[in-house]
Structures are given as C-alpha cells and as structure tokens.
C-alpha cells in the first residue's frame, strides 16, 4: 500500500479510480481501489487467481458495476447513465481471454460491425480500416473466413484488430494469452508489444512476466481485492517490498 500513498500528486489521468469498492453479494471483491493512469502508460496487473484484477479492468468499461467510489475514464464518470457508459465503451477497447469473436460473421464483418453501427462509418471506409488493422496484426488473408476456421492465436489477433477498429484511446486486455496453446502466445504478445510501441494506453491482466518486463511502465500487484504493491517492473521483479508479492513471485518465477 505504501507505494500508492507515496506517489506525488499527479495531473488527472485518462483513467482515475478513487476508492472503488465492489461486492458480489456478501463477498467483498474490490477493496478501496485507487488508480491513476496517464495517457500512453502501459500497466500490467498481476496477482493470484481471484485477487480481483479482472474485475478491476472490467469495471473500467462497466462490464461490472462498482458500488462505491468514483471511476472516471477520459473525463467521463461511469454511473448508471447509459449514454455515459456507451460513450466510455466507444473509447475503450477490450480483448477477452476467450476471444469472444462473433461466430456468425466473417473476420471482416467482425471488424466492421461496430464502426458501421456505432460510429456510422461508411462501409467502404470501415472495410478499409478493418483491412488496415488486419494487416497490422498480420492476418489480412483471413478476412473472409469465419472465426471458427481460425486457430486460437489468429482469433485473438482478430479480436485485437476488431477492438482497434473503433480507434479506442485505451485498450484493456483480460488475460489475452491464457487460453492459447504455448506456440501461439508469442504471436499475440508480439502484436501487443507493437501496439505499446505506438503509444497506446494499455491495461493488461496477464501472467506473462516477460511481457511485463519489456512493455510495462508500472506493474500493479493485487491480492484479495486490494492493490498490494505498485512499482516499475525492474523494482517490482528485483526488489518487491511486500511479503505477499514476494510469495507470488517466488511461485511463478522459477
């Protein structure tokens, strides 16, 4: 906790979480989460399973509702107001553990659906943009296939392209490589590294510590619904302060 409190007062970030609490029934899943993310920052959230890291980033586009505290994304507060929620969701892309591509639509249609129906982008333009991002994730040749015809790694790259087609300011990754076969993890991570190099604001829940070392500005360690430690990757991995962090790192780094 010490790190959080010792930080100097920062200018208002693109994401601000102030004293956020969340309960599932009786279960207190998020306890007083405070987080301030600046534009262009890359944050990695890690921690044991059930620590609330996925729930935290799912609160940022209101897939989960918080019950106490304030969340501001790009200056818009997340409340019950649907207009505000939709405004935030337009600016925040998300990539899921299980890809969640739309199986009844082709890869190209997956990418153009939201730009056309939400942003009112003309079809031609939406398709050009989709092809641009599909090239960027290096699978333009699969554009007219259906998701069921692709491998896991390819599907996840399509999911990244689909989120990018909305030209979001922030990208959330919820364990993007956990459901992939080992040999496909790299292709997805490479795509994410490329994205980071272009200055995208990213929040990643991941167990890929190599990725955290190379890409993250900050690593946030969560346990039992609390932010336990928050530090630069070098300091985080070489000299963790908290006991729980030390235990966690000893378990995952062999």
């Amino acid at each position: 906790m010490s790190d959080v409190n010792m930080q100097p007062t920062q200018p208002e970030g693109i994401i601000q979480m102030d004293g956020v609490h969340k309960w599932y029934g009786q279960f207190h899943v998020l306890k007083d989460i405070n987080m301030n993310v600046q534009q262009g920052e890359r944050i990695v959230l890690c921690g044991p399973s059930g620590s609330g890291k996925s729930t935290t980033i799912r609160c940022l586009n209101r897939l989960e509702e918080h019950q106490q505290g304030r969340i501001l994304v790009d200056g818009t507060e997340l409340t019950h107001d649907l207009k505000q929620i939709e405004a935030v969701r337009r600016e925040v892309g998300m990539v899921f553990q299980h890809f969640n591509l739309f199986p009844h639509l082709t890869v190209l249609q997956n990418c153009t659906l939201s730009p056309m129906w939400v942003r009112k982008t003309p079809r031609r333009e939406a398709e050009e943009m989709a092809m641009h991002y599909l090239e960027r994730v290096r699978i333009p040749e699969q554009a007219h296939k259906f998701p069921g015809q692709l491998s896991g790694g390819q599907q996840q790259r399509v999911a990244i392209a689909r989120a990018l087609c909305m030209q979001p300011k922030i990208m959330l990754f919820d364990e993007p490589t956990s459901a992939l076969d080992p040999e496909m993890v790299k292709e997805v991570l490479d795509t994410m590294i490329g994205l980071a190099e272009d200055g995208m604001t990213m929040l990643c829940v991941t167990h890929e510590m190599g990725f955290a070392r190379t890409v993250a500005n900050r690593v946030i360690f969560m346990d039992r619904g609390e932010i336990v430690e928050e530090a630069e990757p070098n300091k985080f991995f070489s000299n963790p302060e908290n006991e729980r962090t030390q235990l966690f790192l000893s378990q995952i780094l062999h």
Partner: protein, 394 residues
Amino acid sequence: MQNTANVPRRGGSVLTDPKLRALIFQLLAIAAVVGLGWYLFDNTQTNLEQRGITSGFAFLNNTAGFGIAQHLIDYTQTDSYGRVFFVGLLNTLLVSVIGIVLATIIGFLLGVARLSPNWLVRQLATLYIETFRNIPPLLQILFWYFAVMLSLPGPRQSLGVLDSFYLNSRGLYMPSPGLSETFGLFFAALLLAVVASVFLGRWARKRRETTGQPFPVLVSVLALLLVIPGAAVLIAGNPLVWTVPELSGFNFAGGWVLIPELIALTLALSIYTAAFIAEIVRAGIQSVSHGQTEAAHSLGLPAGKTLRLVIIPQALRVIIPPLTSQYLNLAKNSSLAAGIGYPDMVSLFAGTVLNQTGQAIEVIAITMSVYLAISISISLFMNWYNGRIALIER
C-alpha cells in the same frame, strides 16, 4: 499354425454364422410385413364387398348437399364432395397460417420479455407461459368459443367501433372493399409510390454505406405511400367502395365476417403455441454465451443492437428446429376445430363427408395425406432456412 484361422471350422452350424443369420432374419421380417399387409388388404376388401360399399374416388364427384359456414372459394349445397375437400383444405390452411404468424410474434415478444431485467415484465411473461402451456389446447379452444365468443351480446347489442366494425356472438363484422371506376388511377399511383420507395430504400442504403449518414427511410417511405396515392384519391375520388355491415332484421348484412369459430380457434392455438415458442426463444437466447454480449457491449453496441445483430442471429440456429416442431403442432392441432364445428379439413371432410358417403378408407387416406403434405412442406422450408443460417466452422 498360421493357417488354422483360415480353415473352416468343422461342425459349425448355419445358425452361428452372423451373415447368414442376419439374412434369415431380414427375410423373415419382410415375409411378416408382406403377410400382414396382404391380410389387412384382403380383410378390408372382403368386408367392403359384404357391405356393398364400392371403393374408389368416384364419390368425390357426387353432390354434397349441405351448407358450410365459411368458404374461401365459392360454394353452394349443389357442389361436389371434391369442392368440399378444397373448402376444408383452405380453411385449415387459413387457421394454420394466421396461427403460425400470430404465435411467432407473441412467442418472440414473450421469450424476450422472460429475460427482461424488469421484474414485473419477467414475472408476467412467466405467468402467461406457465398458464397457457399447461392447459390442454382443446379446453382452451372450448373456452374461447363458449366462454368468450358465444357469451358476447347478440347482433342488436353488438360492440361497435367507428360504426363499421361490430363484434357479437355471431362473429366479427367489418367493411369489405369493392372497386370503383377510379381504382385504376389509384392503383397506378400506389404502384408508383411502391417503386419510388424501393429506389429510395436502395439509395438510402448506398448512402449509409458510402457516407455513413443514416436516412429516415421508414418515415420517408410511409410519407411516399401516403402522399402519392392520397393525391390520386383527392383528384379522382375514392377508389374503393366500402360495404359497411348494417343491422337488418336479426343480423348484420354486407361486409366481411369472421365467424366466431375461426376467431376462437385462431386465438386459442396462437396463445397456446406462443407459450411454447416463448420458451424456445428464451432457451435460444440463453444458449448464446454471455461473452458475446460482453464483447458487443465492449465495442459500444447498445443493448437493442446487441440483441438484433449479435444474439438473435446466433440464437436462431438453436431456435429453428424446435420452432419447426411447434409450427407442425399448430397445423395439426387445428384439427381440434372439430370440437367447436369450425369447418376445417377434419370436421368437414373426415367428419361430414365421411358420414354421408361411408367411404372411410378413402376419406381418411386423403385427409392423412393432406396433413402429411402440409407438415412436410413446413418442415422442408424450415430445414432450408436452418441450413442457410448455420454457422461455418472448419
């Protein structure tokens, strides 16, 4: 040693050779089926001969000699049994088609309502479903017929709307249109409006795809369809002559009438089947993983568009096969019309005609073939549709 397997075993019985045994059993089965068939055929022939009934379809040309309450094609008592068949067939198809359309609409609305986040809406949908799917359909038909339709006031105390629609215990009376001499002009105007609407729709879609700007297509098309024919009416006068039902003596005369049997049967079947369709729709929507909703929401799609563009298209492939069964059930349940005397295929043809002619085998065979044909047509159409929306994998 290695050759022993190929040497036929001595003393092996024909009964232990699987191939031979299979052949014998198949021959026995065929013989039994043929024998039974022959016995039934011969038995029927003998009995028919003994009673002096000539078999064949010649009776279809005989005069029927009875009236029918509802006929979609011209029919008088002097028409043949063959014509009675077509009257019954059309009446059955009428109930089936209206019933399927109504049941689908009510069922989809209820199915979505059952999943509504609103507590009251959800509970009301549940109440509807649990009530109507647990009461036998014949009872529901009897309820709508005796307890609702026949309990309405008589013609003199009709419930009237706008002095042209009247509901009473003899049915729903409404104005019927007839053509006047200016109809040609009106029709041309209407045609023009429709053609203009089609072009407008295409242009609007193109514009949305090229510039992204949506165009209020629905409103403009409605305006087109109202203004152009409306202008024609203003210039040339009313294209249709409406015959309004009027009370004369003890009943209404003129206009169209929906007989109470038709209303009761259609209502009962639609409401009953809708309860099942609602459950099928609910199951279909729930079969689409929650991740799909989350993905659509995370892309900024609002709830309505998520349902329409992402959930329903995927739910349909789960919905269609059991929905087909419900359509088939509704078409077949329309034969319960016999319970309230609606002149459908069963009550008319397999009822009255059979009683009058005694041609039981022919009549029942024809009736069964008709239901088989209707059911197979529905089934083929739905299978074709299901194949079209199937997911492509690998």
